[in-house]
């Protein structure tokens, strides 16, 4: 079993989300933005919820975020995450807009000294062969 490669549940991109995941593969964080009213949308949709425009385009964002909340799942319902405990599942807010929530993992830290508003930055990690995800690390 030890040499078996474990994968997390991997994203299955669709026509609306394909840009996002192909951007992640290139280590770019792309968020859909309304070209009429400048609202960012995540998860991406086919219409802007603010002005109902369908003129939406992916734009590269800074990758800076602040911490909204987090948790440390302990129940081993999935082989990958059972093998990678402890880990931190977190909701962060991308600094380009409030609110612009994004779900992710925090890496290279423990849950002990985290606080609301903690500055974070995106880091692209190959969590399994061929599987890159946008994760966040504490900065400053």
């Amino acid at each position: 079993m030890s040499d078996q490669v474990l994968y997390p549940p991997m994203p299955k991109p669709d026509s609306v989300s394909e840009f996002f995941w192909s951007g992640v593969d290139r280590h770019e964080l792309l968020i859909l933005r309304c070209q009429e009213c400048a609202t960012y949308l995540h998860p991406p949709k086919e219409v802007c919820r603010t002005c109902l425009s369908t003129n939406l385009k992916p734009e590269r964002v800074s990758g800076k975020a602040t911490l909204v909340t987090w948790t440390e799942p302990r129940k081993a319902y999935d082989p990958y995450f059972a093998a990678h405990q402890p880990y931190i599942f977190a909701t962060v807010n991308l600094v380009e807009q409030e609110p612009l929530r994004f779900a992710t993992n925090l890496v290279d830290c423990t849950g002990d000294h985290l606080r609301i508003g903690q500055p974070l930055a995106v880091t692209f990690r190959e969590v399994a062969p061929g599987c890159t995800l946008p994760l966040f690390e504490v900065v400053g």
Binding site: P8, K12, T71, K75, A103, L135
Partner: protein, 388 residues
């Protein structure tokens, strides 16, 4: 008086047998619950002409139980506040005159092996290559956020603790209070005394959520018969009036991406509820506040105005929610102790309190009760009163 007030009443309530891995089909559970509710009301199948259900299919249940023709029926998509959605639909149907008497049902089963959507799709294992998840799940599952105890309970509880300074000991004391109610309820599944140390020794499911913060998965069906006050007054038990009700959605179904993790739909629903009644929080004698995770009861205590925002820990610690307190809360013991009925237990317990049927746990002279359901993206709540 607003247009809604006292246009709907509750005539009967009932449960199926409730427990772990019961040897009953969904149809058997529904039959038990509906039979109990009809008997409680002194009604027959032909007296009911509406069915609202979360779990199963309304017209199939009508056919199963000989409750046909139906003048009105509703089957939940499951993307709603569970029993509260079912109940709100039934109340709307009776208030509008679409039907005379509506059964509101919640049918729920303890998950069996392979039921978990992520467990099911990963069952093939790495030999089949990576599992792929689409739709809403693609934004959380790759990060290990698919457990409700994580993306609902964990995220909300951690935010509440960080925002308001709540401690694990506060949740421990709440669990102890809930258990003290359960000890007075012969139908509760957990009735042994609980202390703070025992709570703090229970394992994390998704830190800071511990096992004793989670509702207890069971097989169970719950039934409530909503009808007009006039009809309810002709039934076997004293009519319980529905003063007001509300249902809210504030976000898409992905509860990891909420704008607000400590108020959310609970806050919106509470505001709407109070806008529809002449009653005030001080008028409420007992409460049934959803506890799929214990943090949710804290949110409802704050949002309904029984205390200020973030003050639920102090309110609980001061003894208000316990037996003999100013607002005995979750007097059946809550879903952590009586089993997961997704809100139906809080409606049924409220009815029983207002009828004075609660024995050792009876809130003396209870005339006004509030019950609630769900959190995060969606929520529902209602205020019940005795028939004065």
């Amino acid at each position: 008086m607003t247009m809604m007030q006292n246009r709907v009443a509750i005539a009967g309530v009932g449960y199926s047998e409730t427990g772990r891995m019961l040897p009953f089909s969904d149809d058997q559970l529904v039959t038990q619950a509906v039979t109990a509710a009809l008997d409680d009301a002194g009604l027959k199948q032909g007296d009911v002409d509406g069915i609202s259900t979360t779990g199963g299919v309304s017209m199939s249940i009508g056919s199963l139980l000989g409750i046909l023709p139906l003048n009105w029926f509703f089957t939940s998509s499951l993307y709603g506040p569970s029993f509260a959605e079912t109940a709100v639909m039934a109340m709307d149907a009776v208030a509008s005159g679409s039907c005379h008497a509506a059964l509101a049902l919640r049918v729920i089963r303890q998950p069996r092996a392979g039921d978990h959507p992520i467990a099911a799709i990963t069952a093939g294992g790495p030999a089949d290559g990576p599992t792929r998840v689409g739709g809403q799940q693609q934004w959380t599952a790759p990060f290990g956020g698919s457990l409700p105890a994580a993306f609902i309970g964990g995220l909300q509880m951690q935010r509440y603790m960080s925002e308001f300074g709540a401690k694990e000991e506060d949740f421990a004391r709440h669990a102890v209070v809930q258990r003290s109610h359960a000890m007075r309820n012969p139908e509760a599944l957990f009735r042994d005394p609980l202390d703070v140390d025992e709570y703090l020794a229970s394992r994390y499911v998704s830190k800071p959520v511990r096992l004793l913060d989670c509702d207890y998965p069971v097989d169970s069906a719950s039934a409530v018969i909503f009808t007009t006050p006039e009809r309810a007054r002709e039934c076997r038990k004293p009519a319980v009036l529905v003063d007001s009700w509300a249902m809210s959605a504030v976000a898409d179904i992905d509860m990891a991406l909420l704008d607000d993790f400590t108020s959310n739909a609970v806050g919106h629903c509470s505001e709407t509820l109070w806008s529809r009644t002449d009653l005030r929080p001080a008028d409420v004698d007992c409460a049934g506040l959803y506890d799929g995770f214990s943090i949710i009861t804290f949110e409802w205590l704050d949002a309904l105005g029984f205390c200020g925002r973030g003050e639920a820990p102090q309110f609980i610690n001061d003894g208000h929610t316990g037996p003999g307190g100013s607002l005995p809360t979750n007097t059946d013991g809550g879903a952590c102790n009586v089993g997961r009925r997704h809100g139906a237990n809080f409606c049924i317990e409220s009815v029983r309190q207002l009828r004075g049927e609660c024995g050792e746990r009876q809130v003396p002279g209870a005339e006004v009760a509030v019950w609630s359901n769900a959190t995060g993206s969606f929520a529902g709540a209602a205020i019940l009163t005795v028939d004065r």
